[in-house]
């Protein structure tokens, strides 16, 4: 019975063309990203193979040749000679080719050396604990198990000394997490809520199997679909990285041959590692799916659920990068780490539960079981609750007492029932929830910002400020010389301290004198760092001068704090939701089937004017929000930091050394502000047009999420090309400006990037304008 219900649920999800299109789109994105991250256009492979052949033909000769090259390299004069490249076709150094081949053919020895060093270390720790008689604690048990485990691996793992192909690329790729999870979010939402939005729920829930069983069927079908998605995407990733790397080497070889899996605590072949990787991905995805499903059941509201889903995705990703000492090994139990074998099982990991050392996998399975139980209980319990119109409705949760309410009502009745004639006010009224959210977001922003711009009162920063007070302003050789002298003096003081201390120890100098010297030493210690920084800066500015540009010594702490703030996700969230919703609000179908647009289309102002009004309100509100956010930033920045001399050249800071234009700092700050405003407005218009053209909430929000986040995460996981499609880079204008230092003048890239985005935005706007003029609108 339930299997048949599950089949129906699966069919419902699959019948949605939106899901199919999105899946295809994401699959495509995954293919592109994966190909990009795996593909190495040229490399020394060919030469490595040749040298490897030398080894196969005559190992003796190989090693003697290797020894000769090593010897030659040691006696090389780095300033005049180049290492030989006879085997490398004049392109690659022989020594590095031989190194590489040596690594391959001696992989087994290298591996065993490595494991041996681990074993020695752990044995040391264990015997220390044993000597102290403290064997009843987690650390001891953990190390004991590690010892056992790696000793086993030491005895049993054998690497075959053949070159590894393809596997590195496959295990390295890790941009699919977000792509897969976004798709799972959409699929789960459809499975959970489509009946509610279509109104079918009120029919289904009166049928005998319409409640608990349907809920179970929905959850199970969401899980099945998640599994299918994971398998599909993994298969695609595997294929694409394989193709890009030119095939895979033998899958029976030990997985430890790949560097990132060297300390893998399991005895696995590549095939086995692939299977475990897939298993982990399935676990991670199903965990997410179940948590999300329960959330949907509680909220019964798609927009909020998507928000929570993205939050979960993002937090887990952040947790993976969190500080290990603070979070312990618990931190590896986040969805992101679990998703990738080289993150999760990079070494043996365990957590401390009541003094016992419990392996991570046991904990993970326990968590999965608990979450599954909770998800089923919540879903079965809540699916049928609250009737069809439920969902989070704040107004009904906090109802006014009847007495108060009647007072209000009486008052309102007395007043004349005159409404407004301003379309703008109606637009604002329709979006009032979002504007109220903006107020809340601004409060959060104030709290976060005031915390971010804490006055920097460290001794280093104070020292920097006082030095800049002395030498601030345009670079000159004298200033550079002064800094160098100070630095030398400082080093002198630091190096002399050992003798001073021993002098004092032996009573050669008085306590008083020693204290004086000691405090001088302490301040020299802080100055040393600052001066080192300034010496480097002076060197850089000197180089700049030789290029004909006059840089300045500036106090740049506050400036960096301002520029390195990164993306304001809260603002982007507000802008995206506001603008997507603008037309979604009209497209929303009621229970009976038609949207409000059918009515407003037949009015004088209901097409062009309404479109313009909505566009204007969306854009103005986004601009206002941007302005408010910038003002908050500037306020707290000014309160806590002194700004550098605004008229000095931007190139005074080495991070801009490769950029093309020489601006003053104040001009650059204005430029970034303008770019960031434009970025915000472009996001606003793209979201607005998507809301207009795509009509369906789920579709629009998913598309917006993809457009905003996928390039960002792809770029942050190392796919550089994705940076050029990254809208957030436009918002964080400093990142955009420096997008490609060194490779080519950054502004050129910036301009290309703008051209693409502007073109897309303009096309979307023109398209929606045309639709607003008339035509088929239902």
């Amino acid at each position: 019975m339930i299997t048949r219900l599950i089949l129906y649920e699966l069919r419902k999800v699959f019948s949605s063309s939106f899901v199919k299109i999105l899946a295809l789109l994401l699959l495509l994105v995954n293919i592109v990203l994966c190909a990009y991250s795996s593909y190495t256009p040229y490399g020394p492979e060919e030469y490595v193979d040749r040298v490897l052949q030398i080894y196969y033909d005559d190992p003796q000769y190989f090693f003697s040749e290797y020894a000769r090259l090593e010897n030659e390299f040691e006696h090389l004069d780095p300033s005049s000679d180049e290492p030989s490249s006879a085997y490398g076709g004049g392109v690659y150094y022989d020594i590095s080719l031989f190194d590489k081949v040596n690594e391959i053919v001696c992989a087994d020895d290298i591996y065993h050396d490595k494991i041996d060093s681990v074993i020695m270390q752990v044995r040391g720790i264990c015997s220390n604990y044993e000597k102290a008689g403290r064997t009843d604690n987690c650390v001891y048990r953990y190390n004991k198990y590690v010892l056992e485990r790696y000793t086993y691996l030491y005895e049993n793992v054998k690497l075959d000394g053949k070159p590894v192909k393809g596997w590195e690329q496959y295990f390295r790729y890790n941009a699919d997490y977000f792509i897969v999870f976004i798709l799972i979010t959409v699929v789960s939402l459809r499975a959970a809520l489509s009946d509610r939005t279509s109104g079918f729920y009120s029919i289904a829930s009166t049928c005998r199997n319409g409640r608990a069983r349907t809920a179970a069927a929905k959850l199970i079908s969401a899980l099945l679909l998640s599994a299918v998605i994971v398998v599909l995407f993994t298969a695609v990733t595997f294929t694409v990285s394989g193709i890009a790397a030119g095939g895979y080497s033998d899958f029976r070889n030990a997985a430890q041959s790949v560097y990132s899996l060297q300390l893998l605590p399991l005895r696995l072949s590549f095939g086995g590692a692939l299977a475990v990787d897939l298993g982990l991905k399935l676990l991670s995805a199903s965990l997410y799916c179940m948590i999300l499903f329960a959330v949907i059941m509680i909220l019964k509201q798609s927009v909020l659920s998507v928000g929570v889903g993205i939050g979960i995705m993002f937090l887990n990703y952040v947790a993976a990068g969190s500080n290990e000492t603070a979070a312990g090994q618990w931190k590896f139990l986040n969805l992101w780490s679990v998703y990738y074998i080289d993150q999760y099982a990079a070494r043996y990991r365990a957590v401390d539960i009541a003094g016992q050392s419990v392996g991570l996998t046991a904990v993970l399975i326990a968590i999965v079981v608990c979450v599954a139980a909770a998800a089923f209980i919540i879903s079965l319990g809540l699916y049928a609750k609250n009737g069809i119109f439920s969902g989070i409705r704040i107004s009904s949760r906090f109802t006014m007492p009847e007495k108060l309410r009647s007072m209000f009502r009486a008052k309102r009745r007395a007043s004349k029932r005159v409404g407004s004639n301003s379309l703008v006010l109606y637009e604002i009224y329709k979006q009032r929830a979002v504007y109220i959210a903006l107020a809340a977001i601004i409060v959060i922003k104030v709290i976060v910002t005031s915390d971010y711009y804490k006055p920097n009162n460290t001794a280093t920063d104070t020292a920097l400020k006082s030095y800049i007070e002395k030498i601030g302003g345009p670079y000159s050789a004298e200033k550079a010389a002064y800094i160098n002298e100070e630095y030398e003096a400082c080093l002198e003081i630091v190096s002399q301290f050992d003798t001073i201390q021993s002098d004092w120890w032996y009573g050669k100098i008085s306590d008083e004198y020693y204290n004086q010297l000691f405090s001088r030493y302490m301040s020299a210690l802080t100055d040393k760092d600052v001066l080192e920084y300034l010496v480097n800066r002076a060197e850089y500015l000197g180089e700049l001068e030789s290029r004909g540009i006059v840089g300045s010594f500036i106090y740049d702490t506050g400036y960096y704090a301002y520029m390195d703030q990164g993306v304001d996700w809260l603002l982007l969230l507000f802008v995206a939701v506001l603008c997507c919703r603008s037309y979604l609000y009209e497209h929303a179908k009621t229970q009976s089937g038609t949207s409000m647009l059918m009515v407003s289309n037949v009015t004088e102002l209901g097409r062009k004017r309404l479109f313009r009004c909505k566009a204007a309100v969306s854009i103005m509100s986004s601009a206002f929000a941007w302005y408010a956010f910038k003002m908050i930033d500037l306020f707290f920045l000014m309160r806590s930091y002194e700004m550098p001399d605004m008229t000095s050249s931007l190139l005074s800071m080495p991070r801009y050394g490769e950029t093309l234009f020489d601006l003053t700092i104040s001009n650059y700050i204005i430029v970034t502000a303008v770019i960031s405003l434009t970025g915000t407005l472009l996001l606003a218009s793209i979201c607005f047009c998507m809301g207009y053209l795509m009509r369906r909430a789920l579709f629009v929000y998913a598309a917006a999420t993809v457009v905003i986040t996928v390039p960002y995460f792809a770029a942050s996981t190392g796919v550089k090309a994705a940076g050029f499609f990254d809208l957030t880079a436009l918002y964080d204008a400093d990142r955009l400006y420096r997008l490609s230092p060194g490779a080519a003048p950054a502004p050129v890239y910036g301009i290309c990037f703008w051209a693409v985005i502007l073109f897309a935005a303009a096309a979307a706007i023109i398209l929606s304008m045309r639709r607003a003029e008339g035509g088929e609108l239902i």
């Binding site: 029932r417 409404g419 179908k589 009621t590 089937g593 059918m598 004088e604 609108l777 239902i778």
Partner: protein, 302 residues
């Protein structure tokens, strides 16, 4: 004033929803009568430019407008138009009053009056319309909290805002209670003298006495377009009243088209059947005056 619809066709894929629809409309009430799926809503969506026709044109002519295509007129035509969709979507969170004001704003009512006077004008119009559809006492209730029939009446009221000269109503009385049904019918007939009113319905009694012309639609094709009395002429002498013992009712039903069964209060055990037939079904049958409903069934129940 004249609305001329000239051979409009519309297909959804292979399904021909409307073929070659041609009709002229002048002030008065027109009924678009047809079974489910006959193309009534499709036609109305095309007139209101919510849907593009595959072919055909619609022109409008008035004292201030020479003959002109309505798609070219755009705002100028929509200014004269009032539309009540079949299943109107309305903002659940708006109150009734605010919704009316919003539509009044969209319709740009009295835009030539100065601010204060304009608001007074709209306020008066909103109030009188809400009174007419008996929603005045719920004017500050959320639309989401209205009953189905109340929503239906609100949708009608919004269509009437701005005193449109072409009024398109898609099943305006669906879901209304009998009292409201009569009230709405009377209200429409009262305001219709200087308007073109097109009402789509399959409830014959709604328009029987108020329609000036009746257009019968079947699978997208016009099969009749005439005033009610002319339609009735076509079945004069074909409607019979036949007293039958209850045991024989099923018998008659299998042989003839029975449009109504009533109990005869004076004779227990006997039913009065209303039968459609070219000749008398039984000797005891008496011919009766046909109604539009008989004609509708005559046309569509084959």
């Amino acid at each position: 004033m004249k609305l001329h619809i000239n051979s409009i066709s519309k297909s959804y894929g292979a399904n021909r929803a409307l073929s070659d629809f041609t009709a002229d409309f002048e002030p008065g009430i027109y009924a678009l009568l047809g079974p489910n799926g006959s193309g009534k809503t499709t036609l109305m969506n095309i007139i209101t430019d919510n849907l593009k026709a595959d072919s055909g044109t619609i022109t409008f002519e008035d004292a201030d407008v020479p003959v002109e295509d309505v798609l070219k007129m755009r705002e100028r035509f929509r200014k004269k138009l009032g539309y009540m969709p079949q299943y109107p979507g309305m903002y659940a969170s708006f109150t009734v009053n605010r919704f009316m004001w919003y539509i009044a704003t969209l319709k740009n009512i009295a835009s030539d009056l100065p601010g204060k006077k304009r608001r007074a004008y709209i306020a008066e119009q909103v109030e009188s319309l809400l009174e007419a559809v008996e929603l005045d006492d719920v004017y500050d209730r959320r639309i989401g909290a209205l009953s189905g029939g109340m929503k239906q009446r609100l949708a009608l009221a919004q269509a009437l805002l701005g005193d449109p000269s072409v009024l398109i109503l898609d099943e305006p009385t669906a879901g209304l209670d009998p009292k409201q049904r009569i009230a709405i019918r009377n209200y429409i007939s009262k305001i219709a003298f200087d308007k073109i009113v097109i009402i789509a319905t399959h409830v014959v009694s709604d328009i029987e006495f108020i329609a000036r012309d009746i257009i019968m639609l079947k699978k997208g094709v016009i099969i009749d377009n005439a005033p009610p009395h002319e339609l009735l002429k076509k079945i004069e002498g074909k409607v019979w009243s036949l007293p039958t013992p209850e045991s024989e009712v099923a018998d008659i039903q299998s042989g003839y088209r029975v449009t109504n069964i009533a109990r005869d209060e004076t004779r227990p055990g006997v039913a009065m059947l209303r039968v459609l037939s070219d000749t008398a079904p039984r000797p005891e049958a008496v011919p009766v005056t046909p109604t539009l409903e008989d004609y509708y069934l005559y046309l569509f129940e084959e």
